[in-house]
């Protein structure tokens, strides 16, 4: 399609605004994208033709950012130059802005590949203009405000909008994702054989485990978490596809997750089995792109987590892990990971209910905090902070955490002091905030870490990014 005068006006306006933001010390992509889309609603289509080696899309409910960042790390290891909407700006405006940043004034691109993290609801809008060569789908879960109906709609819209010629990279263990392969010529599946926490009975009852094709209740021989597992529909025969990339021999070790695909061993610099799926999605895509195994191994092992995704800080009183919580499945996984440490736990949970967090905090009652209650003796303290500190405290009371261990503290600084005071040497300390509390907490932690002069040496020892 021929580029019109509108395109050039939009591109240059976008680039000028990007420059303006840079001069002002900001690195935003949303505003330039917004202006450019207003000037030329077809701009994504015109920008996308510059990527001759292909466009990779990552979408799904959880793990988009981590999966995209893992794949980016592998691409970097392999020496590829690529466009990337790294800031997590995964709506039309942010994606456009990132592509503009990567496009020269004359309309060519510095990179031949684009890696795009795309919000599920944005997939239809994106695919009207851009045809992804590779589409990675992580999982589909009910998010904070989702109703089943809305999730169904999202899944259907994504399914209908994906171009037939896109190669799909699909989570074989999630029936909602695996169904995408049924009407697609080329689909690659990734999955896990079993994790140390996989069970033949599920303790979680809330996810609808019905066949996405015929509605019959699915029969599972193994549950990994949520609706992920080895499923089979007795109604229509739909079953978990055989994964091309299957993770076996999975075990956590010293902050890493070790696993094997075929004969190749991998180490992932992240915890939590949900992150293993993110790694497998990135790995499958990387192999499809023809990247070499050494780069893939290195990219996964030396990955630096995103802000607030199992991010570690080194303070004088000891190490703290910061991780964002935003929906029941994600929170359940964090609880599982915390309990997996087999150490006494000190936890700060910060719950806000501003627009970016989700105004409705009812989802806290869908989180399986009872697992903390059942191992009450290992919990030294839970500090509840944020606008909904009281609701969080009440939820923990019902989960069986005794009230003496629950502290209410609205000030973040005080909450953190409380968490660190009297901490035992061997305790594992976690901070779990919702979105709008993540960055204020992160700032406080960085200040403490840098103030203690521990950032560079200790962080580097662990292969972490020094927060210099």
């Amino acid at each position: 399609m021929k580029r019109t005068w509108r395109f050039w006006v939009a591109l240059w306006a976008g680039k000028i605004v990007t420059m303006g933001l840079l001069i002002a010390g900001k690195n935003g992509t949303t505003l330039p994208g917004k202006i450019a889309n207003w000037l030329d609603p077809q701009i994504m289509r015109h920008l996308s033709v510059a990527y001759t080696d292909g466009i990779i899309m990552v979408t799904g409910t959880n793990g988009k950012t981590t999966t995209a960042n893992l794949l980016a790390n592998i691409l970097r290891e392999a020496g590829k130059v690529f466009a990337f909407n790294q800031a997590g700006a995964n709506l039309v405006t942010g994606i456009t802005g990132a592509l503009i940043q990567n496009t020269c004034w004359n309309g060519t691109s510095q990179a031949s590949v684009a890696l795009l993290e795309v919000d599920e609801a944005t997939v239809p809008k994106l695919c009207r203009q851009v045809s992804p060569d590779l589409a990675i789908i992580t999982n589909f879960f009910r998010d904070q405000l989702d109703r089943y109906g809305e999730l169904d709609t999202t899944v259907r819209l994504v399914r209908e909008s994906l171009p037939k010629e896109s190669v799909l990279v699909l989570n074989a263990d999630d029936p909602l994702v695996a169904q995408f392969g049924k009407d697609h010529a080329e689909a690659l599946y990734y999955g896990v054989e079993r994790t140390p926490d996989s069970r033949s009975e599920s303790q979680e009852t809330r996810e609808a485990r019905f066949c996405p094709i015929c509605g019959t209740a699915l029969d599972y021989t193994l549950f990994h978490y949520g609706q992920l597992g080895v499923f089979n529909c007795l109604g229509c025969g739909f079953h978990r596809p055989k994964p091309e990339i299957l993770a076996e021999n999975i075990r956590p070790e010293e902050g890493l997750l070790l696993f094997q695909v075929g004969v190749t061993p991998f180490a992932l610099a992240l915890q939590g089995y949900y992150n293993l799926y993110n790694a497998l999605a990135a790995l499958t895509a990387a192999r499809q792109l023809g990247l070499d195994e050494v780069s893939i191994q290195k990219g996964l092992r030396e990955f630096i987590p995103q802000a607030g995704r199992m991010e570690r800080f080194y303070l004088p009183e000891g190490e703290i892990t910061l991780t964002l919580v935003k929906n029941p499945t994600g929170f359940d996984q964090v609880i599982q990971t915390m309990l997996g440490f087999e150490k006494p736990l000190r936890i700060l949970i910060g719950i806000n209910d501003l627009a970016a967090d989700g105004r409705d905090i009812s989802w806290l009652w869908d989180v399986n905090f009872e697992r903390l209650g059942m191992q009450e003796e290992r919990i030294h303290q839970v500090v509840c902070a944020g606008l909904r500190a009281e609701d969080m405290a009440l939820r923990l009371k019902y989960a069986g955490v005794s009230e003496e261990k629950i502290v209410l503290e609205h000030s973040l600084t005080e909450a953190l002091n409380c968490l660190q005071a009297n901490r035992a040497e061997e305790a594992a300390v976690f901070i779990l905030p919702t979105y709008t509390l993540l960055f204020p907490l992160r700032e406080i932690l960085e200040r403490h870490q840098n103030g203690a002069g521990l950032s560079t040496s200790q962080a580097k020892d662990r292969g972490e990014e020094a927060n210099a």
Partner: protein, 248 residues
């Protein structure tokens, strides 16, 4: 002493932490030495409405509700006579609408409800969503520490009450039944309906206890429920009342 609490269609109607209500009822029984028996009943299961003490029906999406109305319709007369005899029912959002006469869709088409409550619902054009504070009617609950209910609503159906029923109370913050008449919820005999979805009872312990008391009374026990340490419950309740009514 035992109390039987039935969670109807937990596999289909389980939105927004509905299970918090069952957890609150069960815990408040247990803390008083009453043994809660929790039943979970799904499509087609046998239901003995007379034998249960509290029936809980939560909210679901439209797709599921259609199937459920049919399933409930088969049991309509059993449910109706149990309610006549004082069965305690808490129904929320979709469950609340289903007990009424009908739900009128945007196109004018009417989906029949069970017709147990003299209420009807009309599809609205905008979603009524956000935090809610309701001042409870004295006839619903008078001698309690709190005169308010706090919760969160998210519905597009607008429900109107007929002559045979009374509202739970007056909306002090939020939209309530329909956003027009400042009423929220319904009470008819021991049936309570509300749009305050999800975990309503944990933060409204006085309301939870009202349901328990009514259930005990129906079983012929007129002993008062022993007081509990509701320190955290009260803090959570008061925090929202303070925060929301400041802006009202």
């Amino acid at each position: 002493m035992k109390l039987t609490i039935c969670h109807l269609y937990p596999d289909l109607l389980d939105l927004y932490g509905d299970r918090g209500n069952i957890m609150a009822l069960a815990a408040r029984c247990r803390w008083r030495g009453i043994e809660p028996v929790i039943q979970q009943a799904s499509l087609g299961d046998d239901l003995d409405f007379m034998g249960m003490d509290i029936l809980f029906i939560g909210g679901g999406s439209d797709r599921e509700q259609g199937i459920l109305v049919q399933d409930l319709m088969r049991r309509e007369s059993d449910l109706r006579s149990a309610i006549e005899q004082g069965l305690v029912v808490l129904s929320i959002c979709g469950g609340y609408q289903m007990l009424g006469k009908y739900y009128q869709m945007a196109g004018g088409e009417k989906i029949q409800g069970l017709g147990i409550l003299d209420i009807w619902t009309i599809a609205g054009t905008k979603r009524l969503i956000g935090n809610v504070v309701v001042e409870l009617d004295e006839k619903v609950l008078s001698a309690a520490k709190f005169r308010t209910l706090v919760g969160f609503e998210n519905h597009s159906g607008k429900t109107y009450l007929g002559k045979g029923v009374m509202p739970l109370g007056k909306v002090l913050f939020g939209q309530g039944n329909n956003g027009d008449d400042h009423q929220e919820g319904v009470r008819f005999r021991n049936v309570f309906g509300t749009y305050l979805h999800g975990p309503l009872l944990p933060k409204n312990p006085h309301f939870a206890d009202l349901l328990l008391e009514l259930a005990m009374k129906r079983r012929g026990s007129d002993t008062c429920l022993p007081k509990l340490d509701d320190h955290l419950e009260e803090l959570a309740h008061e925090a929202m009342v303070k925060r929301l009514l400041k802006h009202a």
